[in-house]
């Protein structure tokens, strides 16, 4: 089996150990571990109910964990809100986009972090649209995303283009980690390929990209490391060297390894 332990890469930029999350009586995460490395794509896979979304929401500050430790660059952290995660350079691209269709690409790029004019006007809250437009254009250019129209509301763009605005926004603000929750779920074949290219380019800028996906072919194409969650725990961390779809499916479902009977019985 081509499951190489991911030990040889230095320290993880984002590390989680023993994360437990309970919702009432339901234990969604039962001591999950997670590692993401700078300049790599880490795919997070698992069957429905394995705890992927819950784990990502904890790592990006949406939920608090019931218990467990998180470190960023070796420093212990805890997030009370997504803004706390933003503040240390962790961004998330949500499955349902989170862009504002009625506003321009640059207004979306600076959503909630608007640039203000210098001096008195800025203190009165006046926007610096020229700067936001310029910096957005630079960010798009850096990731080789060409938008049909930089001023029109993004409702007039295609689904793929709207997705690239959401991804570029995360990439522009992320200093350390970008989470992407099923970024290709709603896209066609061509747009999926382009989005995966975009994922690689963001990785090449040196941040850690965490890709949550159900599409095993996407994962094999783009991931450097694959972390497998099952029943609220990480059960494998594999280098993507010669991995195949059956390998991944086997790891997800437990066909390829031995798990205590009790845990198999508790499938979510």
């Amino acid at each position: 089996m081509p499951m190489v332990p991911s030990a040889s890469k230095g320290d993880a930029i984002l590390q989680a150990r023993g994360i437990i999350k309970r919702f009432g009586h339901v234990e969604a995460l039962r001591g999950a571990d997670f590692d993401a490395y700078a300049g790599e794509v880490t795919a997070l896979i698992g069957d429905n109910g394995a705890g992927k979304s819950t784990l990502v929401k904890i790592l990006s500050g949406v939920y608090g964990a019931t218990s467990g430790q998180m470190t960023v660059d070796g420093t212990p952290v805890s997030f009370a809100s997504p803004s706390d995660a933003h503040a240390i350079g962790i961004e998330t691209v949500y499955q349902d986009l989170s862009v504002c269709p009625d506003l321009s690409p640059s207004a979306n790029m600076f959503m909630g972090r608007e640039a203000l004019r210098p001096g008195l006007l800025g203190r009165l809250g006046f926007l610096d649209n020229a700067t936001m437009r310029r910096e957005s254009a630079v960010a798009f250019q850096k990731l080789k995303v060409a938008l049909k129209d930089m001023d029109a509301p993004i409702a007039s763009l295609s689904g793929g283009q709207r997705q690239s605005v959401a991804i570029c926004r995360a990439a522009m603000w992320a200093k350390r980690v970008v989470f992407m929750d099923e970024p290709t779920a709603a896209l066609g074949v061509v747009q999926t390929a382009r989005t995966l290219d975009l994922v690689r380019r963001i990785r090449d800028t040196g941040v850690a990209v965490v890709l949550i996906s159900h599409n095993m072919r996407d994962v094999i194409q783009v991931a450097d490391t694959v972390e497998v969650l099952r029943l609220g725990r990480r059960i494998a961390s594999m280098r993507n060297q010669g991995l195949t779809v059956p390998d991944l499916v086997g790891a997800m479902t437990g066909a390829l390894d031995v798990v205590p009977e009790a845990e198999q019985g508790a499938a979510a």
């Binding site: 809100s81 997504p82 803004s83 933003h86 998330t92 949500y94 349902d96 986009l97 989170s98 862009v99 504002c100 269709p101 009625d102 506003l103 207004a107 959503m111 909630g112 972090r113 608007e114 203000l116 009165l124 809250g125 006046f126 926007l127 254009a137 798009f140 250019q141 080789k144 995303v145 060409a146 938008l147 049909k148 129209d149 930089m150 001023d151 029109a152 509301p153 409702a155 007039s156 763009l157 295609s158 689904g159 793929g160 283009q161 997705q163 690239s164 066609g188 074949v189 061509v190 747009q191 382009r194 989005t195 290219d197 975009l198």
Partner: protein
């Protein structure tokens, strides 16, 4: 779907990728000309030209024009607040009742003072603004904290504020208004009524704040995608609360202008204000679903019904026709906007 280039091939990066959109005045003009305020502005100009041509001596007289502006002024103040509310995806049906309540309380306070000076008027303004803001904060509290829909919350306070106004006034209009305030209501500066000047200032400030500041930008963002705005770290509830407070504040302000103009609290006169304000805002191209709108559009939207009503009276047509026409025009305007948007949007 497959034809659109979201990402150019690496070879093309020498060119200004992501910057192809033509910029500058010409483009801005083109965008502005395809907008609802522009179409509606043309309709307004045509209406004015039509009535002026038919009745140059009456419709186009300075007295009549002055009247149109005066009729529109109080409504425009309310409509500025409604524009903010609707861009944020909300509703405020309470503004007419809040106006009446604020006017009644302010009139009584000024009456108790007994003096007739600018100081009294100033105190009246403070009282009216405080009453309006209080109702607005109450609306915002019900909507953001109790999570009762905006329609129901403001419907409730519409009834409550009017009832409270009747209680405070014992059911009859207060007709004693300081002369200093009436002077504002009837006076003019350089031939332009004070009311019109004040309204214009409110509309200009409203437009600048909406289109040029972070507060305005957040209003659009919250209306376009509340959940996304929350994730982006915007305090959505806090912002909505402030918008409803603003709407109430403007209703309180309009109450004082109304007192100055009519010298009475006009208890019965404002039942339709919220619907007229919403009509004006919608005519001006603000989306009911939030996220889009302009103050200039609202200004046009206030003047179309005002001009139509005035023109019909002058032509000897029953003014009730204005209500019929505007009713259908609103439906047509929204329909046209939807068609236009479906063409522009891609799924």
């Amino acid at each position: 779907m497959s034809g659109d280039a979201i990402i150019t091939p690496p070879a093309a990066t020498g060119e200004a990728v992501g910057l192809q959109a033509p910029q500058g005045l010409g483009r801005k003009l083109k965008v502005a000309m395809s907008s609802s305020p522009f179409y509606m502005g043309i309709i307004l100009v045509l209406l004015v030209a039509f009535f002026s041509f038919l009745h140059p001596a009456t419709f186009a007289s300075s007295y009549n024009i002055r009247n149109i502006f005066l009729d529109a002024s109080v409504l425009l103040i309310l409509a500025v607040g409604t524009t903010y509310i609707m861009i944020a995806g909300g509703f405020d049906l309470s503004i007419g009742s809040v106006l009446v309540f604020s006017g009644v309380v302010a009139a009584q306070v000024m009456l108790k003072f007994g003096t007739d000076s600018l100081l009294t008027v100033g105190i009246g303004f403070i009282v009216a603004l405080a009453c309006g803001t209080a109702w607005g904060v109450f609306n915002g509290f019900c909507i953001t904290r109790l999570r009762v829909s905006a329609l129901i919350s403001t419907l409730g306070s519409m009834g409550a504020a009017l009832g409270a106004a009747y209680l405070v006034s014992d059911g009859s209009d207060i007709r004693t208004v300081p002369n200093a305030l009436i002077a504002v209501g009837h006076g003019s500066v350089g031939g332009v009524p004070w009311l019109v000047v004040i309204t214009a200032v409110v509309a200009v400030i409203g437009g600048i704040v909406l289109h040029m500041t972070r507060f305005g930008r957040h209003t659009f963002l919250v209306g376009s995608n509340p959940e996304g705005s929350r994730r982006a770290g915007i305090n959505v509830s806090g912002h909505l609360l402030r918008l409803y407070a603003l709407s109430g504040l403007l209703a309180g302000f309009a109450a004082m202008l109304s007192l100055g103009r009519f010298s009475t609290t006009t208890l019965e006169g404002h039942a339709n204000d919220p619907l007229e304000a919403i009509t004006a805002v919608v005519l001006g191209g603000t989306a009911l679903t939030g996220g889009r709108g302009t103050i200039i559009g609202t200004v046009v939207g206030v003047f179309i019904p005002a001009v139509l009503a005035n023109g019909f009276i002058i032509m000897g047509i029953q003014p009730f026709w204005q209500m019929v026409v505007i009713g259908f025009v609103v439906i047509a305007a929204v329909y046209a906007d939807q068609i236009k948007r479906q063409k522009g949007e891609r799924m």
